[in-house]
């Protein structure tokens, strides 16, 4: 029931927002934030309650296959955390947008709720087609919001975003369809069974089709063409959701829908690992030169997520907890930075770093939060980012010690661009501003402050996150394969699906 609520409540909230007043943006905002808090509370509850799943409801049958598509959801540790992230970051976005959207707030909040529902759905879905449905459904509200409320070049950015992600996931649809025509069900285990019996060349092809969708969504080099523009043109609260929560769907796809289904050969895995590491370096290097504040953040996001995906492919024993902690860390710090950059953009009337500066001397709270958020993204010990990067370093060390140097280089680069960014925005002489840089509204400060508080809290007690992965099964290809072989006999009966779901 809780899981149904987590997916459906955002959509219902979106509908209810439709009924709210379009002219009283304050009460609209109050309503939206109330819903957001409610859904976030539900997501916390789902973390506390641990793994659970819903009854499978038959949805429809794909033509050409004999497989029923189920509407079924399950939570298994890692995804309940991701649901929390998506709900909470959306809540922060709703709060942060309160002052800047005016009469458009109603439509904006509807879009955010729809996006939130789609993200929650794709995290919780146990059925591949259901996952794909939500995976695609995310694009629509996001692209619409960019196109409607973005910057000067918003139409182009929205088109790029939509086309890139839709085209990127089209091969996945075909691959999925093909596999379903051979399969007895659409869950991970059944798909893996199908993949196991395919010739290796076909399997690799299908695997790449799946991978492409996630590579574009995350995004990794060279599929990042949409990202900088979309993040930059999107209104800042939306950018916070895009980078904080939506990019995690790509990583989640790698973990949950790619690795367990296809036992990709070690050489392919290594190639993806190096591609991700290259992405991490590439993003950091480009961010160093970027003069557009939000593009800089976009590339920094790309760099961090490259590292996360690289950890996924190290196949280390602590991969799941490491990746989860890294994702939580990145979600919190990057969305805080995006929200604050949005405020700075409001001050200066431009996204250019040259036209920002000196806000710390005029607006102490803003300066404090900005420096804090910047430093928190640098994996300083005491923040959750440190725990994540330490674990990541250990994973790389197990994989191949030399890689640690590359990761170290990334960490140094991230200091370089982040400090340059912080210095350009809040330090130096006060630049002429478009709107007077008034004090941060209490709600904004609270929203960002709560993000930062969580960064510290979990930085000191990361166990709260890692412990909730109750039985961290290593999703290495080897293990999933062995698991499959042992369960192959009993898998003919559909009831087994649920049992094996709990393993993840």
């Amino acid at each position: 029931m809780l899981l149904h609520l987590l997916v459906l409540a955002p959509f219902v909230s979106a509908l209810l927002m439709l009924a709210s007043s379009g002219f009283d943006s304050k009460s609209t905002a109050r309503l939206a934030i109330f819903f957001g808090i409610l859904i976030s509370a539900l997501s916390v509850l789902s973390i506390v309650l641990g793994s659970q799943s819903t009854e499978a409801i038959e949805w429809f049958r794909l033509p050409g296959t004999s497989v029923p598509i189920f509407y079924s959801l399950a939570s298994h540790g890692i995804n309940s955390w991701l649901v929390f992230i998506s709900s909470f970051v959306s809540l922060v976005a709703l709060i942060a947008a309160k002052d800047s959207f005016g009469l458009h707030y109603k439509n904006f909040s509807m879009g955010i709720f729809a996006l939130m529902g789609a993200m929650n759905g794709s995290f919780l879905a146990t059925d591949a087609v259901l996952f794909f449905f939500f995976f695609e459904a995310m694009v629509l509200p996001a692209a619409l919001l960019i196109a409607a409320y973005g910057g000067a070049d918003r139409k182009r950015a929205a088109m790029d975003f939509a086309i890139y992600t839709l085209v990127g996931s089209a091969p996945m649809l075909l691959a999925l369809w093909y596999m379903l025509s051979l399969s007895s069900g659409a869950s991970v285990i059944e798909l893996a069974l199908v993949a196991q019996n395919l010739p290796s060349s076909t399997k690799t092809l299908l695997g790449f089709s799946f991978m492409l969708a996630f590579l574009v969504k995350t995004p990794l080099f060279p599929f990042h063409g949409w990202q900088a523009k979309a993040y930059a043109e999107a209104p800042s609260p939306l950018s916070a959701v895009l980078t904080g929560a939506m990019s995690k769907v790509g990583v989640f796809g790698f973990i949950y829908w790619l690795l367990p289904v296809f036992d990709l050969s070690a050489s392919i895995q290594n190639k993806v690992l190096f591609l991700s590491l290259f992405t991490a370096l590439y993003g950091a290097l480009v961010a160093m030169r970027e003069s557009d504040a939000k593009k800089l953040l976009a590339f920094s996001s790309m760099s961090h997520l490259g590292l996360v995906v690289a950890v996924v492919f190290t196949g280390s024993t602590t991969m799941l907890s490491t990746v989860l902690i890294l994702m939580v860390a990145h979600a919190l710090s990057s969305s805080a930075l995006f929200v604050l950059t949005g405020v700075a953009e409001r001050f200066s009337g431009s996204r250019k770093l040259q036209e920002m500066g000196g806000y710390a001397s005029k607006n102490g709270v803003f300066g404090f939060l900005f420096v804090f958020a910047g430093v928190a993204s640098l994996a300083v010990p005491g923040t959750i980012g440190f725990v994540g990067e330490l674990m990541a370093l250990i994973s790389f060390w197990e994989f191949w010690p030399t890689l640690v140097l590359v990761v170290g280089l990334c960490m140094i680069f991230s200091v370089v661009y982040t400090l340059r960014f912080v210095q350009a925005v809040v330090f130096g002489p006060l630049k002429k501003s478009k709107t007077p840089c008034q004090r941060l509204s209490v709600s904004d400060a609270l929203a960002v402050g709560s993000l930062l508080l969580l960064i510290i809290l979990w930085g000191l007690q990361p166990n709260w996150i890692s412990k909730s992965l109750q039985n961290p099964v290593e999703i290495t290809t080897q293990n999933s394969l062995q698991e499959l072989e042992s369960e192959e006999a009993v898998l003919a009966e559909p009831i087994q699906v649920e049992v094996s779901q709990d393993a993840f």
């Binding site: 001397s361 010990p381 140094i412 412990k467």
Partner: protein, 646 residues
């Protein structure tokens, strides 16, 4: 018994309270009353100093270990929040909290009427918190927490006056260079983790683990240990401004002077030495790394001493002298005389803090002038400050009886006794000691002697600082005169310092036993050291006691001085900064544009194709309708012909 966690808790509370006050008053014009803020800012460091005092002298002399709870517990990685109060951390804590409190006291006067008063004391308190964590931690990751925490505070305080972008950029540089070293620290922890698991990350576990290994087992892991030790030392070069990561410290002088005194002279920069002493049991197993430490220390000390000669900025001279003195400490650590290194850390904290506070008083009364060419003759106008700085000066050059004399002498002695190479090392270090006397003499002469060369209208207002600033200065002066008697080699029985540290460090120091080639009495070393100090002093007097040409240009050194001073900056520029910039340019200009070009190309092809397809489209509604009708007929025809079984 006072629980250990109270010691860091006090400054943390102070930081939080002051931080909240600072944020809450950030919109008001005037801010909270400075008296109250100063009181809070001083109270918490003092409280933690009291706690350290009562723990050090009140309780039993056994190490106290305290575990607060779990930090990280993820499969094999288990890290606790734990504190260890043994004689080494006791020694460090005593002067960190003590000198920290003194300098905080001094800052109340120094920072008066600054709009960021509350913010400054919040940072100072947070710095003390981090430094205490660094020293008190019982495991490497927790030390690393403090290690990065002090780096962060250093960044914030260097850029304290952030309206000037230059200050903020200097802060960035400090953070970035430190971060490079910190990666070394992280990697070293990884190596230890892979050698001995989580146990090796706590100091007790590491010592016990290393001691428990048999000779054969030890030989097997020596390469890994050497790697770990090397990377730890690399981390230390960042934090303690040694070759090659020393460029940030002179730039760090952009911060307020009390900050330079506390963070960039007395405490934070010595944490590298502390770490070496803490890990002494690891380092003595790998003599090759220790010899790297020794040589880096020697070279750094010499290089910085020469660079000190070229500086015109009074704080820059002190900065280079700090680097040079840190080099001396690393020399001592390099010959496995860790207790001597810590002793020099201890005495250096007093006299360098006194020098910096004196310099701060000079700068303060000259309304911010830092160029020594525009000073001179100040001994008549600010006699007390002059006395403070002279005491510090005598201590640093090793004038007989002063603090630096005893500690530097011990270092030189240990160097001499270090095997066959010892006498050469000794000679090199002695040369550096002479240079120290020369550049410090230059500073004193240019600042306090001769005639005043600054702008005249300031001349009347030059005076000694207020009482609240003077008291801490005088206490430090007493320290720089007498701190050395805690371990005076010439006086029998005056070796309290050595005895205190022995439980922690002796096992490591006895491990390496290099027979000295020539035996000399301590008196000889004292004599030679004294001669060196006097020689340097006279040299300085002869060279620099002459009128200084007036100049209006910047205080940066020029010509050869510049190329020597900025040697490491230049090396960094060409070996790393330039490469990174090139890579960054290549990625963002070439690769990124290439990716965008490919994207554009694909879109272009699709658009061309769609244009082609559009040409087929007819624009007559009726014709379209007719064609669709024909199409339907066509479909029907096919179904008819093939019987629907396509």
């Amino acid at each position: 018994m006072i629980p250990l966690w109270l010691i860091p808790l006090f400054p943390l509370l102070g930081a939080i309270i002051l931080g909240i006050i600072s944020l809450a008053s950030s919109d008001s014009q005037k801010g909270a009353p400075e008296f109250l803020l100063g009181f809070i800012g001083l109270l918490f460091p003092l409280l933690s100093f009291m706690a350290v005092l009562s723990l050090s002298f009140g309780g039993a002399n056994t190490p106290i270990q305290e575990t607060l709870g779990t930090w990280i517990d993820i499969s094999f990685l288990q890290i606790q929040f734990g504190f260890l109060f043994d004689s080494l951390s006791k020694m460090m804590l005593l002067f960190v909290t003590g000198i920290g409190s003194l300098i905080t006291w001094y800052s109340i006067g120094y920072m008066k009427h600054d709009r960021g008063f509350a913010r400054f004391f919040a940072y100072m308190n947070f710095f003390l918190f981090s430094m205490i964590i660094l020293v008190l931690a019982d495991s490497l990751p927790l030390t690393f927490l403090g290690w990065e925490g002090v780096g962060l505070c250093s960044y914030l305080l260097i850029g304290f006056w952030h309206k000037d972008s230059q200050n903020a950029i200097a802060g960035n540089k400090a953070f970035i260079v430190n971060r490079v070293g910190d990666i070394g620290f992280l990697i070293a922890m990884l190596v230890l983790l892979s050698v001995g698991g989580s146990a090796f990350l706590s100091y007790e576990g590491l010592n016990a683990g290393l001691a428990g290994l048999s000779q054969a087992e030890l030989v097997k892991i020596i390469p890994a240990l050497a790697l770990a030790a090397f990377f730890f030392f690399f981390g230390c070069t960042g934090k303690s401004a040694q070759i090659p990561l020393l460029t940030w410290l002179p730039d760090a002088m952009a911060g307020p002077t009390p900050v330079s005194a506390l963070i960039h002279a007395a405490t934070m920069v010595t944490s590298g030495v502390y770490l070496l002493a803490r890990l002494s049991n690891l380092f003595v197993l790998v003599p090759s790394v220790l010899s790297i430490v020794l040589w880096i220390g020697l070279l750094t000390a010499f290089w910085a001493a020469v660079a000190g000669l070229f500086q015109n900025d009074i704080k820059k001279v002190l900065a280079y002298s700090t680097i040079s003195q840190l080099g001396f400490m690393f020399m001592a650590a390099g010959v496995a005389a860790f207790d001597v290194a810590i002793f020099h850390v201890f005495t250096h904290a007093f006299f360098k803090a006194a020098l910096f506070l004196g310099a701060g008083a000079v700068i303060h009364s000259l309304s911010g002038e830092q160029d020594m060419r525009k000073m001179g003759g100040l001994i008549q106008k600010m006699p007390i400050t002059a006395i403070v700085m002279l005491f510090g000066f005598f201590a640093i050059i090793g004038f007989p009886g002063f603090a630096g004399f005893w500690s530097k002498d011990l270092i030189l002695e240990k160097l001499f006794e270090f095997g066959a190479m010892g006498p050469y090392l000794y000679a090199f270090a002695l040369l550096t000691a002479v240079l120290t006397a020369v550049y410090m003499g230059r500073l004193i002469i240019m600042t306090f002697f001769g005639s005043y060369r600054g702008s005249l209208e300031k001349s009347e207002s030059i005076h000694d600082p207020s009482f609240s600033m003077l008291v801490p200065m005088l206490i430090l002066t007493i320290g720089s005169a007498f701190a050395g008697y805690l371990w005076a080699t010439l006086i029998p029985g005056a070796n309290w310092f050595e005895q205190t540290l022995a439980p922690v460090l002796s096992s490591a120091q006895n491990h390496i036993h290099v027979q000295s080639v020539i035996h000399l009495s301590p008196l000889v070393f004292a004599l030679v050291g004294t001669v060196a100090a006097f020689f340097g002093l006279f040299l300085a007097w002869f060279i620099f006691n002459r009128p200084v040409p007036l100049s209006k240009d910047s205080s940066d050194p020029k010509g050869f001085g510049a190329s020597w001073t900025f040697l490491w900056d230049t090396i960094h520029q060409w070996t790393s900064v330039f490469l990174v910039k090139m890579a960054s340019w290549f990625m963002s200009v070439v690769v990124n544009h290439f990716v965008l070009f490919v994207q554009w190309l694909l879109v272009g092809i699709v658009e061309i194709l769609s244009d082609g397809a559009r040409a087929i489209q007819v624009r007559k509604v009726r014709l379209q309708m007719g064609l669709s009708f024909v199409g339907i007929l066509f479909v029907i025809l096919i179904v008819y012909v093939y019987g629907g079984a396509v």
